[in-house]
Amino acid sequence: MSQSGATVNQECVTAYNDLKLNKKYKYVIFKLSDDNKEIVVESTSEDGPEYDDFREKLLNAQSKTKTGALSKGPRYAVYDVQYDLASGEGTRNKITFIAWSPDDAGILAKMVYASSKEALKRALPGLAAEVQANDSDDIEWSSLVKTVSKGTAAV
């Protein structure tokens, strides 16, 4: 698969390890820098711990187009999804990689994000699940849990 030349900033890995090993964050949102050369951390669960905050951040994400105008933008995110099993056998945590690429985002932005995804994923070891989200409904909590748990979660 063709790859863009974007590199992963070290702080991405640090933030991911804080989420994975230290449980410091519930989620981390990554973005491409404005020159599309580097993937950096945009925000973490420190300013808004709830899932709805996370959702709002993704929905309101913006990217610069070539002309410098702002439009809706794609993002990468890692969310520590926790859910109860429908069989009653306890709770599960899945560190989930979310590729958020809304249909109404800029074409260039969507393209660069798609071709830089592998670079970031390789830098983040131990991801349990991956979700491709293109519509606001794909990042509703119920849809996310359903995909991540492959239908085993309690509703």
Binding site: D52, D103, D104, D135, S136, D137, E140, S143, V155
Partner: protein, 634 residues
């Protein structure tokens, strides 16, 4: 929140004029199986609202037969495929077998529930014999030159089978493996429609379009005698034996069902369906089954209209008639009393063929609304003070009197094709407003056209609350609001008030609209599957977006209905799912996936509330109406 299927008010059997409709009953006499649409329905005889629906077929189904063991059902469709599946839950499919290249007309099981013969309209062959569990061949159907209409297998050994065909012959097969043995030609003078072996295996009977009832020896296939000559005055479509092997019952196009004594050839009992002295094509009897394992002597027949008739000796008329739709349901309406005052939960459904059925949701009983109905598909219903109004593709507005469940004779012709209908009030008077292709026509409740208000946009849907009318456009994601004013009963005026435009560039046009009962919220479903909820105050002209998170449908939203409190709504769409949404917590939504094959066309919230559980009904492309239990609303 959770949503759970409570009951299925099943579709009526699919019928075709001039063709038999196959009915099957399980060996205990508890359930009947029949084909309708792309589904097979298994219905309890005593309480038809206890029903299972099998949706494994991808094409229109034609026949379903219980195995003698009662554990399996074999069903066929128009593409020549036979599926064998479990009769208990109607979910697990044991096998799918491609038998012939055309329509399957009949299926028969052998006494061991192992072998199946399926026959029909093929090109290379007219049927095949195979094992139910693996599809291995156990013989061949040969000897016919035209479509085979029915097959019967002797339930004892030696195994025998009979196939009857449009070529007016009966072929007798010896098994197993089943092979052609002899052919009885020259007896029937027309299409042979039905064949049945007596339960003890001693006699075979065939019936046909030449009104002949011919008996044969069950072991040799030798013709023995003809009975009842000249009694039936129409084609005989079906035959079924009583458990005692002495009597059998025939169903005919002369609207009668007759019981015969096989020994003496005497016509023991006759039921004639339909009005005395008049001929009605819809009352032709196209299928019959005599359930075994029952003590009450019940006989079940099917009319061409799809009505299931329960017959019993001692009465000359059916003592019970089960009615429903056998074409796609296109509209669903709720009686005004049942929504607001918690009255009897009745709903009205209209189907693609213009049939309108009124249902009592609590008992699950449906009855066809009498009188002159629409001659084409029913588009929409609305109700107002004891009357239900409907519009349809025959471009008429028709009125149903709720108390008598009858169409009134007045049916004004609409200026153009209707898109929807709603009831608005002005000066305390109700007015009926229909959205047409390029105008809004206002009618009085008595059916008089008062004004026809041209619009600047093509309407797609309409909803009303009080004097406020919302009309969706079919070319843009915009909703146009109008106010009805004027206190005269003959001269109301419609004033344009405002337009709600969506800013989202990806949104498609509005497909359905619904006001909450309080009038404070307006839900708009779009052709791309999103539902937008607007908030406003009736009277004031400002409407703001309340939520755009009701967006789990993946195809056109076809109907939305609010609960009486205006806090939750149910929606159905072309993606076959039913969703229940919450206004306070738009993220919590529940889904009934694949609720209706070929799309959900109508939903309603009915006034049956008990212990935190509410009821939602839906109707759709499978011609069935389903009642859902919604609990733990939040």
């Amino acid at each position: 929140m959770s949503i759970e299927l409570e009951k299925i008010l099943a579709a009526a059997p699919a019928t075709t004029r001039g063709q038999p409709t196959q009915l099957s009953c399980d060996s205990k006499g508890q359930r009947i199986a029949y084909a309708s649409g792309k589904s097979i329905f298994l219905r309890n005889i005593d309480d038809p609202s206890i029903c299972k629906q099998y949706t494994g077929h991808t094409a229109t189904t034609t026949v379903a037969k219980f195995s003698p063991s009662g554990f399996w059902v074999a069903s066929g469709d128009v593409t020549g495929k036979v599926r064998v599946w479990d009769a208990v839950e109607a979910v697990n499919t044991k096998g799918e077998y491609a038998i012939i290249s055309g329509r399957i007309t009949d299926i028969a099981w052998d006494g061991d529930s192992q072998r199946v013969i399926a026959v029909g309209d093929g090109r290379e062959r007219y049927g095949h014999c195979f094992t139910a569990d693996s599809g291995n061949s156990v013989g061949e159907v040969s000897g016919h030159s035209k479509i085979v209409n029915a097959v019967a297998i002797r339930q004892q050994r030696p195994l025998r089978a009979a196939t009857v065909s449009d070529d007016s012959t009966m072929c007798f097969l010896h098994g197993a493996p089943f092979k052609f043995n002899s052919k009885a030609a020259g007896l029937h003078k027309g299409f042979v429609m039905g064949a049945a072996f007596s339960p003890d295996g001693s006699t075979l009977v065939t019936v046909g379009a030449d009104r002949r009832i011919q008996l044969y020896d069950g072991k040799t296939g030798e013709p023995t005698k003809q009975i009842g000559e000249g009694v039936h005055t129409g084609s005989i479509f079906a035959v079924s034996w009583a458990q005692d092997s002495k009597r059998f019952v025939t169903a005919s196009a002369d609207q009668t069902v007759r019981v015969w004594d096989a020994e003496s050839g005497e016509n023991l009992h006759t039921w004639r369906v339909g009005e005395e002295g008049s001929v009605n094509v819809d009352d032709q009897q196209v299928g019959v089954v005599w359930p075994h394992g029952r003590s009450d002597g019940l006989i079940i027949s099917v009319s061409l209209s799809g009505d299931i008739n329960y017959l019993r000796e001692g009465s000359d008329k059916p003592f019970r008639v089960i009615q429903g739709h056998n074409k796609t349901v296109t509209a669903l309406g709720v009686g005004s009393e049942s929504v607001n005052s918690g009255g009897p939960p009745t709903i009205t459904t209209g189907s693609f063929d213009g049939r309108v059925v009124s249902w009592d949701v609590s008992t699950g009983e449906g009855s066809v609304v009498e009188g002159q109905s629409h001659s084409n598909q029913v588009t929409h219903f609305t109700s107002s003070s004891g009357q239900t109004f409907s519009v349809g593709w025959d471009d008429t507005l028709r009125t149903i009197q709720d108390s008598t469940r009858q169409f009134l004779s007045t049916s004004p012709k609409l200026p153009s094709q209707p898109k929807g209908i709603a009831t608005a009030t002005s000066g305390g008077r109700p007015f009926i407003i229909t959205a047409l292709t390029d105008s809004l026509a206002i009618y009085s409740p008595t059916g008089d056209l008062l004004t026809n208000h041209p619009t600047t946009f093509p309407p797609s849907s309409i909803a009303a609350h009080g004097s406020l009318i919302a009309v969706g456009a079919s070319n843009a994601p915009s909703i146009h609001l109008f106010t009805l004013s004027g206190s005269s009963p003959t001269n109301p005026t419609l004033t344009f008030s405002t337009t709600i435009e969506s800013t989202s560039p990806t949104l498609s046009h509005i497909s359905t609209l619904s006001f909450s009962p309080q009038g404070t919220h307006l839900a708009a479903g779009t052709a791309s599957g999103k539902i937008l909820v607007y908030q406003g105050t009736p009277g004031a002209g400002t409407w703001t977006l309340a939520t755009d998170r009701w967006s789990a449908h993946t195809a056109r939203v076809l109907d939305i209905a609010w609960n009486p409190a205006g806090t939750h709504a149910v929606s159905g769409g072309l993606d076959t799912h039913v969703h229940v949404w919450s206004l306070a917590k738009p993220g919590t939504r529940v889904r009934a996936a694949n609720a209706h094959k070929d799309g959900v066309t109508g939903v309603a919230w009915v006034g049956m509330k008990e212990a935190g559980e509410e009821r939602v009904v839906s109707a759709g492309g499978d011609a069935a109406v389903k009642v859902w239990k919604v609990s733990a609303l939040q």
